[in-house]
């Protein structure tokens, strides 16, 4: 069945993509050891700052959106018939 699918959506390809993605992330984090940026504010000089900060803030933003959604989401027919 999976043979009829586009190669990009086959289970195997998706596994390979994940492996490549994680490898790139690892290289970027390890690369941080060899790079001296110019930290200005202290916190931005911590190890792999941009990696953990990007991950953390995105998780926070997704959860924040989720929480706001509980309060503010309505069916998309909400304004119909106005």
């Amino acid at each position: 069945m999976s043979e009829g699918k586009h190669w990009l959506v086959r289970r195997r390809s998706i596994r390979v993509l994940w492996i490549v993605f994680v490898a790139v992330l690892a290289v970027l984090v390890v690369g941080d050891v060899f790079i001296y940026g110019h930290p200005t504010f202290g916190l931005d000089g911590t190890f792999a700052f941009y990696a953990w900060y990007g991950l953390l803030t995105c998780v926070v933003m997704i959860l924040l959106a989720k929480a706001m959604g509980v309060l503010l989401k309505r069916k998309d027919t909400y304004y119909d018939g106005e």
Binding site: L28, Y50, I62, A65
Partner: protein, 562 residues
């Protein structure tokens, strides 16, 4: 000053746009594409300073005044009119094309306006013509959205007009120069500008109205109104601290609302607010680096946002669908649209080698230079958040995700060409930023491509991607909208004012019925006496004439004797 340089470049698109309904077929297409090119040429003929001034009442209007900043915005507005026109060549509603052309022309007019009165005139033409662009789609929803949009913008126009009057009364001059918000006049002008920028609290007009335009209309809309507002803020209020807070709020608001949104073009509309937030923050920081960053970001943003909306517009044009929950898997049959959409998405995320990378980083650098820690950390979070809501979410849910079973081909040639043109510009400016840097208002001393900067940006963005894909179950699309400030005037307003409207409506109807009755009575009276059977309209007969003569003579005799 030669004759051609004195001709206002804005009028090319405005007058040409008005001609469009008279043209057909190839003639129309050629004019649509030629007008913006002629505009760019005229803009670049302008010498620095005032090229055209006109007396109006006791003022001297500087209708055309050029400098680096104005030329930069006039140029990108004209380039946008060209690519938007190319994308819209197969748009059958000529009203939209004409309105879009006048809209673009008045944006050029704003960018070259040397005084507040000229600015205001072009500003209001923009409000009206952009309303027409939304409205010309011709659906009930777009009509209602365009009317809500118009009311917000007319309100903004009233604030701006009041501010201008107060400012001119205070200072005695109509010159449009850098100001600080410290008088009622300047505050009102700032408020008028910010409404068009999509600032809180009224930002909901943007995601409400823009996605209701046609597949091509939204592309035009994304470029002019908000970026003209960025331009006037750059010129009028550089370094106004309040803009930092307004900008940061807009940046985060855009991300959170876009994350919750299901309509692909509303996602991109929220992301306009987000991107303008970066620019407004840069204007608030106010250093040459930050102002250059804001100007450069407006320039690159117009290109990649239009590109994103062109790819979304192509999907809408080919499938008729706009909700992420109905889309997915389109990369298989629309490879070019997918590729162009991804290039736009990478650019908006300021991925290295794309245009966003070389512009947005200057704003962050401005925050570093000024040691604005909170601003800088929020800008970094915002950068990660852009990748989340526009960089990945938009292409993922539209082109990949699940297989929706839809297999539409790529759109017609002109639409593909417009997307390819802007994709080339996105990558071209990203790889070779010097030509853009040379156009900026201040000298640029900034090198975007350093090893730490590239690695840091890749870390930030790819770990944002990791967050997206690991939290994908939380991002599942639902058939929902998210309430925004427009709820106050769309729902609460109706509850509060609805009964009042009914009462006044009824009173008006009663008054009208009453008036009609009285008019009926009056007409009846006149008809009775002057109509075919009326006593005063009968043809006079000899007998009755003799009778009335006798009556008159008799009366005369009586009066004489008495």
């Amino acid at each position: 000053m030669t004759a051609s340089s004195a001709f206002p470049p804005a009028l090319v698109l405005i007058l040409g746009g008005l001609l469009l309904p008279l043209l057909r077929g190839y003639a129309r297409s050629i004019v649509i594409l030629a007008l913006p090119l002629l505009t760019v040429w005229l803009v670049w003929q302008l010498p620095d300073g005032v090229s055209l001034s006109v007396r109006f009442l006791e003022y001297r209007l500087e209708v055309v005044k050029a400098d680096a900043l104005g030329r930069l915005f006039a140029t990108i507005f004209a380039i946008m009119a060209f690519a938007g026109g190319l994308f819209a060549l197969n748009q059958r509603r000529v009203a939209e094309l004409a309105a879009a052309s006048v809209y673009a022309g008045s944006a050029v007019g704003v960018a070259l306006a040397g005084d507040l009165i000229t600015l205001f005139v072009f500003w209001e033409i923009m409000a009206i013509t952009s309303t027409l662009v939304v409205w010309s789609r011709g659906s009930e929803n777009s009509y209602r959205a365009s009317m809500r949009y118009l009311q917000v913008h007319l309100f903004g126009g009233v604030l701006l007009m009041a501010g201008i009057v107060a400012q001119v009364t205070d200072t005695g001059t109509i010159a449009f120069t850098a100001m600080t918000p410290d008088t009622p006049g300047t505050w009102l002008m700032l408020a008028g500008f910010l409404i068009n920028a999509g600032a809180p609290p009224l930002s909901a007009w943007l995601p409400d109205a823009y996605p209701e335009a046609s597949y091509s209309g939204t592309v035009f809309l994304s470029a002019f109104t908000t970026k003209a507002a960025v331009y006037v803020l750059l010129r009028g209020f550089p370094g106004a601290e309040i803009l930092i807070y307004v900008g940061l709020y807009m940046m985060l608001y855009g991300i959170v609302y876009a994350l919750l949104e299901n309509d692909m073009r509303r996602i991109l509309a929220y992301s306009i607010v987000n991107q303008v937030g970066f620019m407004v923050t840069g204007i608030g920081i106010g250093t040459e680096m930050a102002l250059n960053g804001a100007a450069a970001h407006a320039f690159t943003h117009i290109i990649y946002k239009a590109l994103l909306l062109m790819s979304a517009g192509s999907v809408l044009y080919m499938t008729g669908k706009r909700k992420c929950s109905d889309l997915g898997g389109l990369f298989q049959s629309m490879p070019l649209t997918t590729a162009c959409g991804i290039i736009g998405a990478l650019s908006i995320s300021s991925f290295p080698l794309t245009s966003g990378f070389i512009s947005k980083s200057m704003i962050s650098q401005g925050a570093v230079d000024e040691r604005l820690a909170v601003t800088w950390f929020l800008l970094a979070a915002g950068t990660a958040g852009v990748f989340l809501h526009a960089g990945i979410k938009f292409p993922w849910f539209v082109f990949f995700q699940k297989d929706s079973g839809l297999r539409p081909p790529d759109p017609p040639l002109n639409m593909r060409l417009a997307m390819v043109l802007f994709s080339i510009l996105c990558i071209g400016l990203g790889v070779w930023p010097q030509p853009l840097y040379a156009l900026l208002p201040y000298p640029v001393d900034y090198a975007p491509y350093t090893v730490p900067h590239v690695v840091n940006m890749l870390q930030l963005l790819l770990f944002s991607g990791l967050a997206f894909f690991t939290m994908l179950p939380l991002m599942r699309r639902t058939l929902t909208i998210t309430l925004d400030f427009d709820w106050f005037y769309r729902t609460l307003g109706k509850w509060v004012l609805g009964p009042a409207a009914t009462l006044t409506g009824n009173a008006l109807r009663r008054a009208e019925t009453e008036a009609r009755n009285w008019i009926g009575v009056l007409i009846g009276f006149v008809f009775r006496h002057h109509g075919p059977q009326g006593a005063l309209a009968r043809s006079v007969q000899a007998g009755s004439m003799a009778f009335w003569m006798i009556v008159l003579l008799g009366a005369y005799l009586v009066l004489y004797l008495v």
